[in-house]
Symmetry: C2
């Protein structure tokens, strides 16, 4: 099985703007990507990144040449990410992913898994449940109707990430006569998009993403009935 | 195992006020309770309701005597709920639940499960995973750090639903030297408290709660990047 992680470092996690600046969002996005990559490796698979442009460490450094060297180093693509096998496809997410899914039709692999780069709560156990789920298509729905991760084993299936993609993927697979497996996992359902999602990272994980948030001053705020996060002022 | 469902019909689901009136919230709360009760029965257990005051069908009808008979019927406690074994305890949730947990210390039962009444997404499979999870205490965390369902098999454990109860329960159990099982379930993590939660009911269930929402005019709204609900104007 090929395991693909779509990622972009161009203005990532834009819905976190209310609580994080642009540079912070990029760093946090890389921290989550590193957590996801590590988790996939722990399942015995070698993740490939799917990016719209190369994550060029040199370019990244050049971008920041005018800044202090410390800051430039700080902005660089983490080595653990830069060394990964990478597919570059500048099309939007849906056609880029369908490009990779063609490997199944081409007979290059029996299955392709697509795992989103912001699944900071993913564990090897949760991913293993997805990877070993039955079905021509196995889906881990995200909160709000998204498709956070899926495994495709049939060449007759294509993704469409627009709108309520979980429902649409389920319907499309059924209409194509394909068996659909659904994985009921809070960890895989919890993509990190909005400020309210950050508390889940702090409560349920202990990886780079949680460490980054803590260093940035975030902590669990249980003063409200549904717990959120607050950011320290220092 | 005794399975307990705490419930109140006094101003339930207050955080749904932005989208539902008081009478609507009560009816929707009953619809979710009925779904939860049905799901527990499907696991082979007989749920008991834990309520602060009796769900008195007669009283409910008397309350509405001045209204049209149709409206009175509409306001009544559903029969499928009114017939249930019920524990009445007018204390707040935490001491009331701990009162039931004393059954384990008293040797009346080997285990007590507490399942919240707003787990409209729960399925027999998801609940079975919780009920069969190992540990002296097994917890299904809710979104935002709550404790949506748990099983207690040791008399040394007490609940405290205030604040970040998932984290607190986990710590309290560890400090008492108890083994803790955690169930990774999106369905059990999805308590229905806020307007943004309603879309999960529409997307992932087909019970009374979803039917009630559809009849009330709610539908999936996928015009935003994270899908929500909208309510028709008719």
């Amino acid at each position: 099985m090929d395991v693909i992680v779509p990622f972009t470092d161009r203005d990532p996690k834009s819905r976190l703007k209310p609580v994080l600046g642009a540079a912070e969002r990029r760093k946090f996005a890389f921290a989550m990507l590193q957590d996801v990559v590590t988790t996939i490796e722990a399942t015995g698979h070698e993740p490939e990144l799917l990016v719209p442009r190369p994550l060029d460490v040199a370019e990244s450094a050049a971008d920041t040449a005018a800044k202090a060297s410390e800051a430039a180093e700080d902005d660089a693509v983490p080595e653990s990410v830069a060394d990964r096998p990478t597919i570059v496809d500048d099309r939007p997410l849906t056609p880029a992913v369908n490009g990779v899914l063609s490997r199944v039709a081409d007979g290059d692999t029996a299955a392709v898994a697509i795992v989103m780069a912001d699944l900071a709560l993913a564990t090897p156990t949760a991913l293993h449940r997805l990877f070993s789920a039955g079905g021509d298509v196995a889906i881990a729905p995200g909160r709000g109707g998204g498709t956070n991760a899926l495994v495709v084993r049939d060449p007759g299936f294509a993704v469409d990430y627009h709108g309520t993609s979980y429902r649409d993927h389920h319907r499309a697979a059924a209409e194509a006569g394909l068996a659909v497996g659904v994985v009921d996992s809070m960890r895989l359902a919890s993509d990190v998009d909005e400020p309210a999602d950050l508390v889940e990272v702090l409560l349920h994980t202990d990886g780079r993403s949680a460490a980054w948030l803590r260093e940035a001053g975030f902590e669990v705020d249980d003063s409200e009935s549904r717990v959120g996060v607050q950011r320290g002022t220092e």
